[in-house]
């Protein structure tokens, strides 16, 4: 029992956390594909990024001795870049909402011919109810 | 002794995970915000206990930063009513009592 615990302990930070990071990355990827609201997509990207950080730090903490400071420094710069990129992306979402009236990336092929006014009108139509599908949103292509 | 600290930290972690039910259920955003506030305090306590358990005095600084900034999200939550829209917003929203019709929810 104690030997098992020792084994698990030596494995834990080095294997458990990178595995968790990989799961987070995959989950963020899944959310990024499936969700349409841009704020949720930004959250999904952040979760993917956190997964990457967790893999990096987990691998850095492997083995004997103190963890690898280079990987930790890399993660530190990564976190600051991630928060700046998130802030910029959120500013873009706000700007997009101001221009088009919605912050949702619609599924289906992009409608290049539609001028901005039309997009806002469609959005207005779609506001009949949250459950009502967008007119250009083909559920069964 | 460090096993005791660790067990205590584990217990607090479990209370956070239980408290998540309140975030998921809501029903109001006030409830969710309060739950997040409680998580912040619990996180500070976990960090203090971990710093004793692992012998890392630097974790007290992490707890200090959490305690220092715990209020920022709550202030953002409360002080957001009446954000002006485009830059030409008049000053009439400077007082909470004359909110525009859009706050009338």
């Amino acid at each position: 029992m104690n030997g098992l615990a020792e084994l698990a302990h030596t494995l834990a930070p080095g294997l458990l956390y990178p595995t968790g990071g990989a799961i987070l990355f995959a989950m963020g990827l899944y959310g990024l594909i499936r969700r349409h609201h841009l704020v949720l997509r930004i959250l999904a990207l952040n979760i993917m990024g956190s997964g990457v950080f967790m893999v990096l730090l987990g691998v850095a903490a492997r083995g004997e001795g103190p963890p690898d400071p280079v990987a930790q420094a890399l993660t530190l710069t990564g976190i600051v870049v991630a928060v700046s990129a998130t802030a910029f992306a959120l500013a873009l979402v706000v700007h997009l909402t101001r221009l088009t009236g919605h912050a949702v990336m619609l599924p289906g092929p992009p409608d290049d011919d539609a001028p901005v006014e039309d997009i806002s009108r469609e959005e207005h139509h779609a506001d009949g109810g949250p459950a009502a599908p967008h007119p250009d949103q083909d559920r069964n292509p | 002794m460090s096993a005791f600290y660790l067990a205590a930290a584990l217990f607090l972690l479990a209370t956070i995970l239980l408290g998540l039910i309140r975030v998921l259920r809501g029903p109001g955003s006030g409830d969710r915000m309060l739950a997040a506030q409680l998580f912040g305090t619990t996180g500070v306590t976990i960090l203090l206990l971990l710093s004793m358990a692992l012998g890392e005095s630097a974790l007290v600084d992490v707890a200090l930063v959490f305690a220092l900034l715990a209020v920022v999200a709550a202030v953002a939550f409360v002080r957001q009513h009446g954000l002006p829209e485009p830059p030409d917003t008049p000053v009439h929203r400077q007082h909470p009592e004359d909110r525009g019709p859009r706050d009338d929810r």
């Binding site: - | 217990f11 209370t15 029903p27 739950a35 506030q37 409680l38 209020v71 709550a74």
Partner: protein, 98 residues
């Protein structure tokens, strides 16, 4: 030895308050009573844990840091609870189902 015993007792007492705060958060019926429950965890729970950890602190600087953390959490908890309550009072409990 006495210090260790005191630490254990105080930390355990603090944990009880955290458990009570979480139970209140889950079980109480509305925002105001939940708020009442969880400020106990903020104020007393963390306070007791910090009081307990002070017996293990290495020096006056560590003790001061612990007290500072407690004061900051007190201020943050008070402010947040007050403001959330006020917002709920003026905007209604369920305005936020958005």
């Amino acid at each position: 030895m006495i210090a260790n015993t005191l630490t254990v007792i105080l930390v355990l007492a603090g944990l009880v308050f955290f458990a009570a705060g979480t139970a209140g958060l889950l079980r109480f019926p509305d925002v105001y009573s939940r708020l009442h429950a969880l400020t106990k965890a903020d104020n007393v729970g963390l306070g007791l844990v910090i009081l307990g950890l002070m017996f293990q602190a290495g020096g006056p600087a560590d003790i001061l840091k612990l007290i500072l953390i407690w004061v900051l959490v007190l201020a943050a908890g008070t402010t947040a609870a007050h403001m959330v309550a006020q917002r709920t009072w003026t905007h209604g409990e369920f305005e936020s189902d958005r």
